[in-house]
């Protein structure tokens, strides 16, 4: 799943084991990510 982390201005990908990877963060220019979508 994708998780938008407003407090830290980043988007995480979380796999079925609960492991999280930072996919987007402020260095990519995002400031206030409020929603994310992915095509299944």
């Amino acid at each position: 799943v994708l998780v938008t982390d407003l407090a830290n201005a980043r988007v995480l990908g979380v796999d079925a084991t609960g492991s999280a990877t930072v996919l987007l963060e402020s260095k990519h220019g995002i400031v206030m990510p409020v929603a994310a979508a992915i095509h299944a």
């Binding site: 994708l2 988007v11 987007l24 990519h28 995002i30 992915i38 095509h39």
Partner: protein, 138 residues
């Protein structure tokens, strides 16, 4: 590919890949469509089509990424859209204020869930022909 709406940027950020090495790009509508104002929920449909609730402009924007064409839906019909989902028939379901509407690319507007006291949907999701909405009552 996944997409993120950023309220401060007033834009959608697209990211390719599902690891930290993917490429990203910022998507903004052209001047003829006008900028987004507090974009909220969004959906990614077939062939990379992006649908986003342009909340404070009271409209939904559709970006056909293959042609980089933007289409505006719901202007004049929506109040404060917050969540969107693409229905199996291609229409866009929208959580808007206290109701859920379906918008067609042909300009059609159908009320799927009527406005009701205490009903405040903020998100919708399509699931195999069923439409779910996230919200609260009370």
């Amino acid at each position: 590919v996944f997409v993120v709406s950023d309220q401060r940027l007033g834009a959608v950020v697209a990211f390719s890949g599902l690891d930290a090495d993917g490429a990203f790009g910022v998507l903004r509508p052209p001047p003829a469509i006008g900028g987004m104002h507090n974009p909220a929920g969004l959906a990614l449909a077939e062939e990379g089509t992006v649908v986003v609730a342009d909340r404070d402009n009271g409209r939904v924007l559709v970006l056909f990424t293959a042609s980089l064409t933007w289409v505006e839906l719901g202007s004049g019909s929506l109040n404060r859209p917050t969540g969107v989902a693409v229905l199996p028939d291609g229409r866009v379901a929208v959580a808007d204020s206290r109701r859920v509407l379906a918008l067609g690319l042909d300009g059609s507007v159908e009320e799927l869930v009527a406005m009701a006291q205490g009903f405040v949907p903020v998100g919708v999701a399509e699931a195999g022909g069923r439409l779910y909405r996230r919200g609260h009552t009370g």
